[in-house]
């Protein structure tokens, strides 16, 4: 990406400090990062093998290049495979030309380059956001496992193919698997992604998954298995600003990556509902849904549309087809302040909910409303940043309420990364534009940022387990933004661990966490036992060599966060931490959740050796119950003065 690594590493563009995790971890050298996605555009500069040595000997994968559109691999892009039988069994149709690992959608190229793409100077989107594109592990090798195809009934990727992708990736010898897809939150035994990820983690592979884009609805988080790293999405301090100027003198900040208006003058302004076709409802027309607009009313005007209604509708396309000169896309209430810069097919700007109300009020207040949209330009240093994207799926975890998900947040709004050159950025047939780099937004985009950091940690600490890598990443995250205030959500209200997990990723801190919360396969099996799975169900997961312990409590599952569900009076939770830093003494700092008293025993932990493990108990006692709050949040931090090992505490006092 052209800015997100500078933002996360707090570095200036082009400056890499010697102490940076990139230098320390040799830019992820020879770690192998895979994604399960829509394939790869192999000709992208992000996957050029210039300067790369021989392929690591542990690699056992291959490149499926058996069709005219097949993917040719190199010493950077070392594998590309595709899995389509599950898609076809569901009714998907593929012909011989599109049956390959080549990415004709763009998503897979974008995510893979974000995780492990090369340094590519001069990357931009139609001239905007110019900078050096790079992945989190720029010297890692990458492999694409295509499991997603053209949508059928709104779904692109099918369990049978996802499991085949995991089975192949594990065999091929990858170190990190990045998965920017998911379904509704579901039971672990009914989910090919959870099962595939379990086998990967069992083989020492880190699996990073996106939390989903169903926010800000509570309980919407998906990919909640405890062996996954689940990633929410937040903003950067960069915006592609395109101001909306109203004739009444108001100037409203919006964002866009569209071309400018052809004339430097005010244009007539109309709302979708005013432009409605004869048989359309006001509500549908306001959202500029297909066949709801009357071209006679729209032609030559700037059309104001309300966001939402259907994720698959390109409102810019609807506006253009109706003859609009431009479009103002007004956030709905749920989207709040999160404004996304898209490469719309016509001059456009997306504005906040509050500003959208201003536009509608202005339209309603005059017989001759006029507006103008300025040409987009990139601005950095925006405050506050990061803040949580409204779309980012939220906890609580509806499958296992005793486990906090998501685990972490990372940049996922307006991310520039490599793109397919098989289709346009809007995917509209008439849109003939091609761009080797494009912006995308979603937890799909934040997920590979974490995968890239996991790749660095794999290079730096090859002996660390997937759980240790997760622990290092999450316990070093921050919860404050660049104003030094607590991170906020899309409505600019204080965000909680249900949206950001432990907080926003800090790659430099993650390389030296001090202490880690480790887990092995038996711990995950204990977790499943404690979750109430029957022994017969557990047998396949456990290879038959495992017995549920007499007493297994979810509260004692050694997760880095502490979540106590339905706390009645008092509960004690046990955790164990392993020293991965230097000998020293750690002391605990506690932040009590509202109405809850937290005590920790012991309050100091002394480590004489690296690898030494110590346990501690956390007792939570209800002091009073907050009437309006189903959940309350606090935290504890172990520190030796150099390291800060943070754990959020989440408590519900209702069953």
């Amino acid at each position: 990406t052209t800015h997100s690594w500078d933002f996360m590493l707090l570095e200036k563009e082009g400056v890499i400090h010697s102490s940076s995790v990139w230098n320390q971890a040799r830019f992820g050298e020879d770690t192998i990062i895979a994604n399960l996605d829509t394939g790869v555009w192999p000709e992208s500069d992000s996957f050029s093998d210039k300067g790369f040595g021989p392929i690591p000997s542990k690699w056992k994968g291959k490149c499926e290049d058996d069709t005219p559109t097949g993917v040719k691999c190199n010493r950077k892009l070392i594998g590309a495979r595709y899995f389509n039988k599950g898609y076809e069994a569901y009714g998907g149709k593929l012909n011989s030309t599109n049956k390959s690992a080549r990415d004709d959608e763009g998503h897979g190229t974008h995510t893979l380059s974000t995780a492990g793409g090369n340094f590519v100077p001069g990357a931009n989107v139609f001239g905007l956001g110019n900078g050096t594109a790079k992945g989190g592990s720029p010297k890692a090798r990458v492999a694409a496992y295509k499991v997603c195809w053209a949508p059928i009934n709104g779904s692109e990727c099918f369990d049978a193919d996802i499991m085949a992708g995991f089975d192949a990736a594990i065999h091929d010898g990858v170190d990190v698997i990045s998965v920017s897809l998911g379904g509704d939150p579901t039971d672990y035994f009914n989910d090919g992604l959870a099962i595939g990820a379990f086998h990967a983690v069992k083989n020492g592979i880190v699996v990073v998954c996106s939390a989903g884009n169903s926010g800000p609805i509570d309980g919407s988080v998906s990919n909640v298995a405890p062996w996954m790293i689940t990633v929410g999405a937040s903003t950067l301090d960069r915006e592609f600003q395109a101001f909306v100027e109203l004739r009444n003198g108001k100037r409203l900040k919006g964002t866009s990556l569209s071309r400018p208006l052809p004339k430097d003058t005010f244009y007539p302004l109309i709302s979708g509902s005013q432009a409605k076709a004869a048989d359309a409802t006001d509500e549908d027309a306001l959202r500029c849904l297909p066949e709801t607009l009357d071209p006679k009313k729209v032609k030559g005007k700037i059309l104001a549309c309300l966001r939402g209604g259907s994720a698959r509708v390109d409102k810019g396309y609807q506006a253009l087809m109706a003859g609009a000169a431009g479009m103002i896309l007004c956030n709905d209430k749920l989207s709040g302040n999160e404004i996304i810069a898209d490469p719309h097919v016509l001059p456009a700007s997306q504005i906040t909910y509050e500003d959208g109300l201003e536009v509608i009020a202005y339209i309603d207040s005059t017989d001759d409303p006029l507006a103008y949209i300025t040409a987009p330009s990139a601005q950095t240093g925006i405050k506050p940043a990061p803040f949580m994207a409204s779309f980012s799926s939220r906890g609580p975890n509806t499958v296992t309420p005793q486990l906090l998900k998501p685990d972490i947040t990372a940049p996922g709004v307006n991310i520039i990364a490599a793109y397919t050159e098989a289709s346009s950025p809007t995917d509209e047939a008439f849109d003939k534009r091609k761009t080797p780099y494009n912006t995308e937004s979603g937890t799909s985009m934040s997920c590979p940022h974490v995968s890239g950091v996991a790749g660095l940690l794999k290079t730096l600490h090859p002996e660390w387990s997937p759980a240790a890598i997760r622990s290092a990443i999450v316990t070093t995250a921050r919860t404050r933004d660049n104003t030094m205030n607590p991170m906020v959500d899309g409505s600019f209200e204080e965000a909680t661990p249900f949206s950001y997990g432990h907080g926003h990723i800090r790659p430099n801190r993650a390389m030296d966490p001090g202490l880690i919360y480790d887990l092995n396969v038996n711990d995950y099996l204990d977790f499943l036992c404690a979750s109430g799975y029957r022994k017969t169900m557990l047998q396949p997961f456990s290879d038959g060599h495992y017995k549920c312990p007499q007493t297994a409590h979810l509260r004692d599952f050694n997760y880095p966060s502490i979540t106590v569900h339905a706390l009645e009076e008092s509960a004690t939770v046990t955790r164990r931490v392993k020293n991965v830093g230097s000998p020293g003494t750690y002391a605990v700092n506690i932040r009590n959740p509202l109405g809850i008293s937290v005590s920790v025993e012991p309050t100091t932990l002394t480590f004489k050796d690296v690898g030494e493990e110590k346990s501690y108990n956390v007792t939570l006692t209800v002091k009073w119950r907050e009437n309006d709050e189903a959940y309350v949040f606090g935290g504890l931090t172990w520190t030796d003065g150099k390291h800060y090992v943070r754990s959020p505490i989440v408590v519900s006092t209702e069953s």
């Binding site: 990727c157 099962i195 939390a211 799909s444 396949p540």
Partner: protein
């Protein structure tokens, strides 16, 4: 009862493989054969199983994906985890 039962694609999950990482082609063929035998015991013949199975997970994940009638899937689910081949979305 309908004249033609509706078939859907399912995943039958059997856990992990006994074979280690140094697996031979014969081992892999043996896995597929065992999947045919397992499903064949429910469908009545190995040939029917061969027609139904479209993925045999052979390396690390033990299981297969097959097109089955709901009743057949329900019967297998009495013994091992079985779930629909569901769709997921890009995020």
């Amino acid at each position: 009862a309908p004249a033609f039962a509706i078939k859907k694609s399912y995943i039958v999950y059997l856990g992990s493989h006994a074979h280690g990482p140094q697996v031979t082609t014969a081992d892999l063929d043996g896995v597929t054969e065992s999947h045919y035998e397992f499903l064949g015991s429910f469908l009545g013949s190995k040939d029917k199983a061969r027609d139904a199975i479209f993925y045999s997970y052979k390396r690390h994940i033990n299981g297969f994906a097959a097109t089955l009638e709901e009743e057949e899937a329900d019967e297998i689910a009495k013994h091992v985890p079985v779930f629909l081949n569901k769709g997921k979305k890009l995020h």
